[in-house]
């Protein structure tokens, strides 16, 4: 190995630097790709071909935009408002119970391979986020902007964690096949099910840990609200 083999690492440095200096992420990524290609000594023609064909090959990642007309239309007619009205009508439903239930459903669904059934565009923005807000308003109280931001961010985080730590238990697509394929190419033959089995302990741990965190978020929001009300009373008395 020579020093020249290390030049492409400049692309990684470009990514880290770009994100640290808060340049537009799209620009950072394009520049990092160019830096890595030039450092590796690719010709302009090879570089453009590599960028172009990799970009086209990954276009499946944008297929979710087909859900936007449905979601946009329903939102125009008040879907998000309706979602929060509906959740607010359940008496016993707290914010924590709602998000933990969603976490569990999302995890089980992705264990069954249904990873695209839910997602940030499909379910989180139109349903889970407004429902979380409504459940929080009903079980905690009126949220200020900062609290609302935390509740919405937690909705997205819950979706991610449910997805990531469920899908590895599913045998027929994605991670498990990638692992099995890697071993097979290197002469180690494994059953996909055997690999998927070892993802179960982490899946359970993920559910438990994140459920605890959702509960902690609920109690910290309650505490903040109580403090704010106390302060207001003190101010009123003074």
């Amino acid at each position: 190995m020579t020093i020249a083999d290390l030049y492409p690492l400049l692309g990684v440095a470009a990514v880290v630097l770009g994100f640290a200096l808060r340049f537009n992420p799209v620009l950072v990524v394009v520049v990092a790709g160019l830096v890595s290609s030039i450092a590796a000594g690719l010709s302009i023609g090879d570089m453009l071909a590599l960028l172009g064909s990799a970009f086209v090959s990954n276009r499946a990642l944008l297929l979710f935009v087909l859900t936007l007309p449905t979601i946009g239309l329903l939102e125009y007619f008040g879907l998000r408002e309706r979602a929060s009205m509906w959740i607010a009508s359940f008496r016993g439903l707290t914010f924590a119970r709602f998000q933990i239930a969603y976490l569990g459903i999302r995890q089980v669904m992705s264990m069954l391979g249904l990873t695209h059934v839910a997602g940030h565009a499909q379910t989180v923005r139109p349903l889970v986020a407004p429902m979380s807000l409504a459940a929080a308003e009903r079980s905690i109280g009126k949220l200020d902007e900062e609290a609302s931001e935390k509740v919405r961010a937690s909705a997205a985080a819950t979706d991610n964690i449910g997805l990531f730590f469920g899908e590895d238990v599913f045998v027929a697509i994605g991670a498990v096949l990638l692992i099995q394929g890697f071993y097979a190419r290197n002469g180690i033959v494994l059953e996909p099910l055997h690999i998927a089995l070892w993802a179960l302990p982490t899946a359970i741990a993920a559910f438990v840990i994140h459920a605890i965190r959702i509960n902690l978020l609920q109690s910290s929001l309650r505490k903040q609200l109580a403090q704010r009300n106390q302060q207001r009373e003190d101010d009123a008395q003074a």
Binding site: F19, V26, L51, S53, L61, L63, L74, V117
Partner: protein, 323 residues
């Protein structure tokens, strides 16, 4: 059989429609951005087929377009168009009128995706599959989205044009963030082709004492996390760390169990995915979709869970891998 490419054409048409709405509103940067992004969806298969036959100019032109998209993105502001006053009231009134009927098309997206997935997996009329075998879930999602648009039009009494317009408005509000996942996957391919992974694996093995299996295991685990954070994708990190450390050192030299190491190693990488802006479709796009003030709010919310799970995973590996 419904080929995935037909759905890509629909995406292309939708992107062109969005460009058209912006053209009417004279928002020039968005017009160019969406029109350019429509190209890989309208002509993607043709470009890849041409490259296979040795005709490289279409993919090279696409490469130039990618660079151009990157430059245009800097001219676009996130967050979409301002909402006119009275919009919230109008929506609330409409929500009260339509009631829970609004949920049917929204829940139709997951429900129909599930149904189509099952049909696509089990039904093979005349030996012909409904969808391409490698893309059953994705195709199901695409078809479900189209069907639910018609359901939503029935429920609300709105026209197709209003649906497309409101979809475009939503797309405008996500704006350049929509491009990040594709770009990051592209960067992953560039990194792989230019040998970034090999360089990192080489550096790691030179830096650690390879005779101590716990140290090697820790290097593997942290390597998965760090590399996933850099690449934004555990799938990209896995083959690199396995080829560099997992296979030669842990499995061959220290006799680690491969199934346990593979599954837990991948999940250790997932902890890294929760931490990185490079996994834009999971961490940045939702922050924009949910109109959060900080682009990093979702990541901040995930950090404690990710770190706890990292500890759990490393402990599980230490216990299970060398049994």
């Amino acid at each position: 059989m419904l080929k995935l490419e037909y759905l890509y054409w629909l995406v292309g048409a939708f992107l062109l429609a969005t460009a058209f709405f912006n053209l009417r509103a004279c928002r020039w940067p968005l017009v160019g951005f969406w029109a350019l992004l429509a190209l890989p969806f309208l002509f993607g298969d043709a470009m890849l087929a041409a490259e296979k036959n040795g005709v490289r100019w279409p993919v090279q032109a696409m490469g130039a377009a990618v660079i151009l998209l990157g430059l245009m993105a800097t001219r676009i502001r996130l967050g979409g168009h301002a909402e006119s006053r009275g919009e919230l009231e109008r929506r609330t009134t409409s929500a009260e009128q339509l009631g829970n009927r609004l949920f049917t098309p929204a829940l139709g997206i997951p429900a129909l995706t599930l149904l189509l997935f099952l049909a696509g997996t089990w039904l093979k009329p005349g030996g012909v599959s409904l969808f391409e075998d490698k893309a059953i879930t994705l195709s199901s999602l695409g078809v479900a989205s189209v069907l639910t648009l018609f359901m939503a039009m029935r429920t609300t009494g709105a026209s197709f044009a209003v649906g497309v317009r409101e979809g475009s408005r939503l797309l405008d509000s996500i704006s350049w963030a929509v491009l990040l996942p594709m770009l990051l996957a592209t960067l992953g391919a560039v990194f792989a082709a230019t040998g970034v992974g090999d360089a990192i694996a080489m550096l790691t093995t030179q830096a650690i004492p390879v005779d101590n299996r716990m140290v090697v295991l820790l290097a593997f685990a942290f390597g998965m996390v760090v590399f996933t954070v850099i690449m934004g994708n555990a799938f990209a990190a896995f083959p690199v760390m396995m080829a560099g450390i997992g296979l030669p050192l842990l499995i061959v030299q220290h006799h680690a169990h491969p199934a346990e190491l593979g599954a837990l190693g991948m999940l250790t990488g997932y902890c890294g995915t929760l931490l990185t802006p490079m996994a834009a479709n999971f961490n940045i796009v939702p922050a924009v979709l949910l109109e959060l003030r900080s682009q990093y709010a979702v990541i901040v919310s995930q950090i404690p869970t990710a770190l706890c799970l990292l500890v759990v995973n490393i402990a599980l590996m230490a216990l299970l891998v060398f049994r």
